[in-house]
């Protein structure tokens, strides 16, 4: 429970801060501070059980199927890290209160900071790798927000993005590594994983796991070559630098290596990847730090170097080295956080961070100077500070590796470290440079809010040297034991270890550093001439290239071209069909074919010629449409010949409506457009088209020549009359067996009608309306709008057509016909009135609106279907009944006919809506003022 409170507090603070974002700065500080302090208190209350081996833990089932729980534990390693996070967090909040300007949005700042704190605590406390990954990624995110806090500054945005990209990318590698680790170890539970080192290291995937995890750790801890984000992150407000980029977040990688030490360390792979990277980073960072002039840059590169040190120690793979790393973790946290705060104070007071423009601060800001010198000395590894002890431990561990190169390089790194630390301490406080440009007032020691936190940290750095065993001994010892998964080492932390190689190396490093510092300015040009490795520019270049590449690729592929989409679709279908044909083949089947009569062949020729003619006159649209009429006619004949009279009827009626529709649209399209595609393009399209045609034809041939299988249609045939109440099996299928399809089908028609209405209704406005009004045909037209013979014939045809429609509707259940065709006939008859007598004349005489018809039709169909529910039958269950009418006698009525009536209403409504709307638009084009004739 305590652990839940512990982890919940920062997030609670985030929530409170968001709620109280309009409250004052005091309130914000109070919320953040109180939560951090409370967290620290909770943590301390759990310290004793943790250290004495009764690890506090909690486990809440989360995803049992995947074996992932929400489990938290507070072993000594976690305790150490959590202490760091909360302790320094509290100090940073106090410091931030002093640091942030009056107008800064403290709520936003602190909520990001607390989000970060919670995420870091999560990493420390996670007892499950998935949970750890979640928190890990959240730290990257919080860091992104914090670095980008001053968001209008370009450096802040770039720094934030770079940090996110590198640490986020590493985090993703870590996701891969940890999940892979869990899969290999057989559990997501961290404790279980840690106990299965042998299993993991024996796996062939071990190197992969190791490298992925190291990518995560190295990016987070800014190891070469992933270090570049850290200096750039200095664009963040200084409290952020102090907290994230010195004391806590960057240590997450170190923590991770320590955490996974039992399962990953101890192999050659481990030693040969971790230690060299750490060592190289240590030297490189220190070297760069020595020649930087921006205080924060110096500190940033020093952090890079110090992180390298810790990583190197963990890479050595010995318990003592781990102990050294963990002890240095504490030391570094204390002095580096202090130094960042110190640098912040100086900038705050003097307005500059350029070391070349600063000096003699000891006299102007004595308190600040004291703590600065103290912290820098700790960084330099000068006795009696904690840094001295850990550095000696480091050198000791490097000597113990047995190699000569390692201690030699470590000493060089220590020398460089000492040099830049001393430079920081000496040049800044005692150096002769004039004070930098002062912002209005004379610089002086800042108020306590700013001064106290670094002072406390510097004191701790000193105390860690003076009384290491009391302050840190048990913690480091216990943490080392958990990290190494072994027994406690019997650690002895002290300033005086007796004279040994480590002491000699350590002292000579300090001495060499003083020498180096003496000649620093002389060396600077020399250093500048060294082949420089500007990771930042490399990164920027890579990012630009990535984005440009992505743009180019994306734009290359995603051209807004319908033709391309279609061609790809055709090709995919062709390739897949070809694959199946190639692999399994499909020849003609054994079914006897039906001999074709001469007339069938002639009609076929009609179709082929007309189709080819459409292609040939493709750009002469009107002609193409005439040939389309022939194709439609042949289709109807074919259906009729092939025993599908209903299809023939429908085809004829639909064809007429389609022709009308196209002619209406054609009217407003330009006459004879130029050809668009080049000859090669036409050849390519022709090839695709031919292949598609052959494929489709072949498939049809293969199916038709195979014997039909006894299918479900037999049931339809057998029951159509007896149960469906109709002899036209197709119609009974449509309105009864598969009435549900028809319901969907009329919905499609209804939606098409509505969409067409929605499309055309606003067409008179805007640019389309202007085009409509400006539209003039190039052709000369006959003045005879309504030829008399035509008008008279259509008037006679209307009642006749209605009668035929009624006939088709009423007997459709038994003979070819049905609601759909009937409605189309009515539609055509009404459209004929439009054609013959004009839009206004006809529109004024229509009684029922299309919307009403569509709605009514759907309602009838639905109500018919729902009627069955009242009898406990499923939707659309039909009933057959006989009604005796006077004069007429017994009439068979099926509820399916009512359904068919609904179908007819929707069809009529939709078709007339589509065509009348279209005609309406053209009407508006004809009126100079674009007025609506309705």
């Amino acid at each position: 429970m305590a652990l839940l409170i512990l982890i919940g507090l920062p997030f609670a603070a985030v929530l409170l801060l968001m709620i109280a974002r309009r409250a004052g700065r005091r309130v914000h500080m109070l919320i953040a501070g109180a939560c951090s302090a409370a967290g620290l208190a909770v943590l301390l209350s759990q310290a004793e059980p943790s250290l004495s081996g009764r690890t506090p833990m909690i486990r809440i089932p989360w995803m049992p199927t995947a074996g992932v729980d929400i489990s938290l534990w507070l072993d000594p390693l976690a305790l150490l890290f959590a202490g760091l996070i909360l302790g320094i967090g509290l100090l940073v909040i106090v410091y931030a209160d002093g640091y942030l300007g009056k107008d800064e949005p403290t709520a936003r700042f602190l909520s990001y900071l607390m989000l970060f704190q919670g995420a870091m605590l999560g990493i420390a406390l996670s007892g499950n790798v998935v949970l750890m990954l979640i928190f890990w990624e959240m730290t990257s995110l919080a860091s992104f927000l914090l670095i980008g806090f001053w968001r209008t500054r370009v450096e802040a945005r770039r720094g934030a993005r770079m940090a996110l990209t590198i640490t986020g990318g590493g985090g993703l590698a870590l996701v891969g590594g940890l999940v892979l680790l869990a899969k290999v170890a057989g559990s997501y539970d961290l404790a279980t994983i840690l106990s299965r080192g042998g299993l993991v290291q024996a796996s062939p995937l071990y190197p992969v796991i190791l490298i992925l995890i190291l990518l995560g750790a190295f990016t987070k801890s800014a190891q070469i070559p992933f270090h570049a984000w850290l200096p750039r992150a200095m664009a963040a407000p200084t409290p952020v630098s102090a907290y994230l980029h010195s004391a806590t977040m960057v240590k997450a990688g170190v923590f991770l290596l320590a955490r996974l030490w039992p399962v990953l360390a101890g192999t050659d792979w481990w030693f040969l990847t971790v230690a060299p990277v750490g060592l190289a980073t240590m030297i490189f960072g220190a070297g760069v730090a020595l020649f930087r002039h921006d205080l924060k840059a110096i500190l940033a590169y020093s952090t890079v170097s110090q992180l390298g040190l810790m990583v190197m120690l963990l890479g050595f793979g010995t318990g003592a080295a781990v102990a050294a790393a963990l002890f240095h973790l504490l030391n570094h946290a204390a002095f580096k956080a202090a130094l960042f705060m110190h640098a912040g104070i100086i900038e705050h007071e003097t307005g500059t961070r350029d070391i070349r423009r600063l000096g003699r601060l000891a006299t102007i800001m004595p308190l600040t100077a004291t703590l600065g010198v103290l912290a820098a000395a700790a960084m330099a590894g000068v006795p009696p500070l904690g840094g001295f002890i850990s550095k000696e431990m480091m050198l000791e561990a490097s000597v113990r590796t047995g190699s000569l190169l390692v201690p030699a390089l470590a000493t060089i790194a220590a020398t460089l470290s000492a040099a830049y630390a001393l430079r920081y301490a000496v040049v800044l406080h005692i150096g002769r440079a004039p004070i930098g440009r002062v912002m209005g007032t004379a610089p002086h020691d800042p108020p306590a809010r700013l001064l106290a936190p670094p002072a406390i940290l510097a004191t701790i750095a000193l105390a860690l040297g003076l009384a290491p065993m009391t302050l840190a001994g048990p913690l480091v010892e216990a943490a080392t034991a958990t990290a190494t998964g072994g027994a406690r080492l019997g650690l002895h932390l002290a300033l005086w270890h007796g004279i040994g190689p480590a002491l000699i190396l350590s002292l000579s490093a300090v001495a060499a550093a003083i020498l180096l510092l003496w000649r620093q300015e002389a060396l600077a040009p020399l250093a500048a001439r060294l082949p420089s490795f500007d990771a930042r520019r490399l990164f920027d270049g890579a990012m630009t290239a990535t984005v440009q590449g992505a743009r180019r690729l994306s734009h290359l592929i995603h051209v807004a071209s319908l033709q391309r989409s279609l061609a790809v679709l055709f090709l995919v279908a062709l390739v897949l069909g070809g694959e199946a044909a190639g692999r399994f083949g499909f020849a003609a089947g054994p079914r006897a074919t039906t001999p074709a009569s001469p007339v069938a062949i002639m009609v076929w020729m009609l179709l082929v010629v007309a189709t080819l003619a459409v292609v040939a006159v493709e750009r002469h649209r009107y002609l193409a449409l005439v040939f389309m009429g022939v194709i439609g006619l042949v289709m109807a004949l074919a259906f009729l010949h092939l025993s599908a009279p209903d299809l023939a009827l429908t085809q004829i009626a639909v064809e007429v409506v389609t022709i009308l529709l196209m002619l209406l649209a054609l009217h407003l399209l330009p006459g004879r457009p130029p050809r668009l595609s080049s000859l090669p393009r036409r050849v390519r399209d022709g090839a695709i088209a031919a292949a598609g045609g052959i494929g489709a034809g072949w498939l049809a041939w293969a199916v038709m020549t195979r014997p039909a299988r006894e299918g479900i249609a037999r049931f339809h045939w057998a029951n159509s009359h007896a149960l469906g109440g109709g002899a036209n099996v197709v119609n009974v299928t449509l309105v009864d067996f598969r009435g549900f399809d028809t319901l969907g089908e009329i919905s499609v028609l209804a939606i098409a009608g509505l969409t067409i209405f929605a499309l055309l209704e606003p067409a008179a406005g805007g640019i389309a309306g202007r085009r409509l009004r400006e539209w003039r045909s190039a052709d000369r037209f006959s003045p005879d709008r309504h030829p008399m013979m035509f008008a008279v014939a259509t008037r006679l045809l209307l009642p006749l057509a209605l009668l035929v429609a009624l006939h088709l509707f009423l007997r459709g259940h038994d003979q070819p016909g049905g609601g759909f065709v009937a409605a189309l006939v009515v539609s055509i008859a009404i459209l004929l009135q439009y054609l013959a007598s004009g839009f206004d004349w006809t529109d004024a005489r229509r009684r029922i609106g299309e919307h009403g018809l569509i709605g009514l039709g759907l309602a009838i169909a639905l109500a018919t279907g729902l009627g069955a529910l009242a009898f406990g039958a499923p939707f659309l269950t039909s009933s057959v009944g006989h009604v005796h009418l006077p004069l007429i006698g017994a009439v068979e009525l099926t509820s399916a006919m009512l359904f068919d009536l609904g179908v007819a209403c929707v069809v009529l409504g939709s078709v007339t809506m589509a065509l009348a709307q279209l005609a309406h638009v053209a009407q508006r084009a004809a009126r100079p003022d674009g007025e609506d004739p309705r």
Binding site: D784, R785, W841, P933
Partner: protein, 137 residues
Amino acid sequence: MSPAADTVVGLLVLIGAGFVLVGSWGLVRLPSVMERLHAPTKATTLGVGALLLASMIDGRTRYGNWTAHELLVTLFLFVTAPVAANMIAKVHLHRTRTVAGGEADGIAGPPPRPDDEGDWATFAEPRRNCPGTPPDP
């Protein structure tokens, strides 16, 4: 089926199909649009008519039921075919005057004017209140 009926139906079928064929043949061989327009009339009237008659007799003699609904096909054709012919002729007239270069006149040449001042409806705005003009809204 009686031999007589068989013969009658067979003859009717041949006559009908023959007129259909002659109609299309005329369509192919006649020299210009207006002449060709005469051709389908045969197919429409006697061609289809004879076939329908054959079908009626055939149904009666072979299956024993009188079906007269074939007549309806002819009825509808009689209503619609003249309208179609009229419209096509109007298209021809229109295009002989409006299309650049002109669509060729037939043997009969350009149509004469109806009277001294008037013109055909294809070329002139129909006069108000004449029979057949729909009232303007």
